[in-house]
């Protein structure tokens, strides 16, 4: 890629990250946003108007005027949009989960590979300074062998299309398994071998799972538990949710709380207690890193393969929920 100005196209605004992508045009130098596509005209137009962008009713028209595509559509729409982008040879950063099935995710990875175009997965938590420090600490070796990890990625039920399996492909397990899975793979450089999971709909009047619990076994024997539940009560809990880990190693215990840095805010008018975070903006760091890779023609910082591996863990988790047995992670069907 040799263009001095990188033109971003935003495909789908269903996910909140679309706002970060729209803001990137203002924050980053030599970056502009060409426009926004969404299958929902009202939503697409409203978003375009909010950021002074052009709305494209046809995806291929947007692909014709951008250097990179940011997919922030509903989960089930990632796959069809990405295949268009691969055909148009547009480097694409896709929202997590990469797809709702291993087959779709694999097809995306294959399409970009055969087009020789970059596919990236949006895992912004890798840009948390605490995550980076923990990874460095692990790799330097002073902790000794890691034995087990107790992780959470709990949240508030996001509502809307997240509760509709046709759009989301699944519930809390689909939404919140991939971040921690990716962190574990990246920090320890191991793959997940096997998954046991429980999942159920217990807290909300929806048809997808809203609570779950996973136990992952890695290929070096390390064990990781993960709570992906949408268990934070909306409007009452002081923040949207969390990403935490307690890491037990031979030489000690390390606690990670990605969204820990905050001040307490007590507000009379809303009768709300909330956290005002003061950590760094991971989204901005992730977008800047992606744009640099597009500009320099270097491999994606977080690949489509990374996205696929995380989807494969989700797939094993849902199989386990049904079979009541630990299930092997399969990336090729």
């Amino acid at each position: 890629m040799t263009a001095s100005i990188i033109r971003i196209g935003i495909a789908g605004v269903a996910h909140g990250h679309a706002h970060s992508y729209a803001a990137a045009g203002k924050v980053l130098t030599d970056v502009t946003v060409s426009g926004v596509y969404d299958h929902d005209e009202a939503r697409g137009r409203a978003f375009a108007a909010q950021y002074g962008l052009r709305w494209f009713p046809v995806l291929t028209d947007l692909l014709a005027v951008c250097d990179t595509l940011m997919i922030a559509a509903e989960n089930s729409q990632h796959h069809p949009i990405a295949l268009h982008a691969a055909a148009a040879h547009i480097p694409t950063l896709c929202e997590k989960p990469l797809a709702t099935t291993v087959a779709d995710a694999q097809a995306m990875v294959d399409a970009f590979a055969s087009a020789d175009v970059a596919l990236g997965t949006a895992f912004p938590v890798r840009y948390s300074p605490a995550v980076v420090r923990l990874r460095e600490t692990i790799q330097r070796g002073s902790l000794g062998q890691t034995l087990m990890v107790r992780a959470t990625n709990r949240g508030t039920y996001p509502g809307g299309w997240f509760g509709d399996p046709a759009w989301s492909g699944g519930g809390a397990i689909m939404d919140h398994t991939v971040h921690v899975t990716d962190l574990v793979r990246w920090m320890w450089g191991r793959e997940v071998l096997e998954v046991y999971a429980e999942g159920a709909t217990r807290l909300h009047d929806i048809t997808v799972d809203d609570v779950g619990m996973l136990l992952l076994t890695l290929d070096d024997g390390m064990i990781v538990s993960l709570d992906p539940s949408w268990s934070r009560p909306a409007g009452v809990y002081p923040t949207w949710g969390d990403v935490t880990m307690e890491v037990t190693t031979v030489n000690g215990i390390v606690n990670l709380d990605v969204f820990g840095p905050h001040v307490d805010v007590f507000q009379q008018s809303t009768r709300r207690y909330s956290w005002a975070g003061h950590g760094v903006n991971f989204d901005a760091a992730m977008i800047a890193d992606w744009i640099a890779a597009v500009r320099n023609g270097t491999p994606p910082p977080i690949s489509g393969e990374d996205g696929l591996r995380a989807v494969a863990v989700v797939d094993a988790a849902y199989r386990s929920v049904i079979s009541h047995r630990p299930e092997r992670v399969r990336t090729r069907l």
Partner: protein, 330 residues
């Protein structure tokens, strides 16, 4: 009430101290193969003999009840002998080393018409009891997911706790507390799956992560950790359709101090001793013997806590999911 104490270690010392604080209660004799210096000092102070054979204690005719705080693999034999001798028994947790032993203990209590209480003391910890009450009262609606953690340092290698054959390891020492509390809240378990560090036999490090599915649908995650360098941390969180109940033991309660090293600074002692969970449990046992209300744990509940904890151990050892057939349920 005339108590005998069997056991010479830290837990025996703790229970004996509480007996001495109760009204209308006395210690008549202590028995253990080995006494810690503090336990010896306490017995001397109380003016009671330290016997080196539990049989000599059980042969006495001036006892009403015994507290058994010995290594886990001795609970069954000592408890059954005490019940046979016509004594009420408060036995430390876990109830026994195996389900068969535990079942024999319950049968002996029935046969000899004596009271048996297993010290699943978490039911008397104010935070855990308050959380239980809030959940039972429907404060957070229908329960979806529960999490518990219990973490501390590995016992010394030469201690009986470190001998899995005797103690049952980290699961029977720590995890059983939380499993007992979860069962108290959510009823019978349908499925258990767990992974542990035990099989890897890393000296001085152990831990277990378990997922429990209850018959009522609740999903729980229970963790026990024997790999902390020091300290003791417990945590619980239960999420329902109308909110969350949560507690951690590492926050300030009502009074805390950071003393300068070697300054000798010391907080005044807490006169509200009835708040101590072990004391509250002992008072419940004592009152029960005198005809009062039953304690928060029944022997059957303690046996169930043992059974589920051993299922966790079995799942972790074999990699199998342990499923319980439930009558009247598909």
């Amino acid at each position: 009430m005339r108590y005998g104490i069997i056991g010479g270690g830290g837990m025996a010392h703790l229970h004996a101290g509480h007996v001495l604080r109760m009204n209308d209660a006395q210690i008549v004799a202590c028995a253990a193969l080995e006494f810690t210096p503090t336990m010896h000092a306490l017995a001397n102070k109380a003016g009671v003999p330290c016997l080196n054979d539990a049989a000599d204690l059980l042969a006495r005719t001036d006892l009403d009840a015994v507290i058994i705080a010995t290594p886990t693999d001795t609970h069954a034999t000592l408890t059954i002998a005490a019940l046979q001798a016509g004594l009420h028994v408060l036995v430390e947790k876990p109830l026994a080393r195996t389900v068969a032993e535990g079942s024999a203990m319950l049968a002996a209590a029935e046969r000899h018409h004596k009271k048996l209480l297993c010290g699943q003391v978490v039911r008397y910890f104010p935070e855990y009891a308050t959380a239980h009450d809030a959940i039972s009262a429907g404060s957070i609606g229908n329960i979806g997911v529960a999490r518990t953690s219990r973490a501390g340092a590995h016992p010394p290698a030469q201690s009986w706790y470190a001998d899995t054959l005797r103690s049952g390891g980290v699961a029977l020492d720590l995890l059983i507390h939380d499993i007992d509390w979860l069962l108290w809240n959510f009823g019978p378990v349908e499925r258990v799956y767990a992974r542990s560090l035990t099989e890897r036999a890393i000296p001085g490090r152990d831990g277990v992560l378990a997922i429990l599915r209850f018959v009522n649908g609740v999903i729980a995650h229970a963790e026990a950790n024997w790999a902390y360098p020091d300290g003791f941390v417990t945590a619980l969180e239960v999420a329902g359709s109308d909110g969350i109940v949560a507690h951690r033991n590492d926050g300030i309660v009502d009074l805390a101090m950071r003393a300068q090293r070697d300054s000798g600074a010391k907080l005044a002692s807490d006169p509200t001793a009835q708040e101590d969970p072990y004391y509250a449990q002992l008072c419940a046992f004592d009152g029960w013997i005198r005809g009062g209300a039953a304690p928060r744990s029944t022997p059957a509940a303690s046996l169930e806590s043992l059974r589920i904890t051993l299922a966790v151990v079995e799942s972790a050892a074999t990699g199998a999911v342990i499923t319980y057939p439930i009558d009247g349920r598909l």
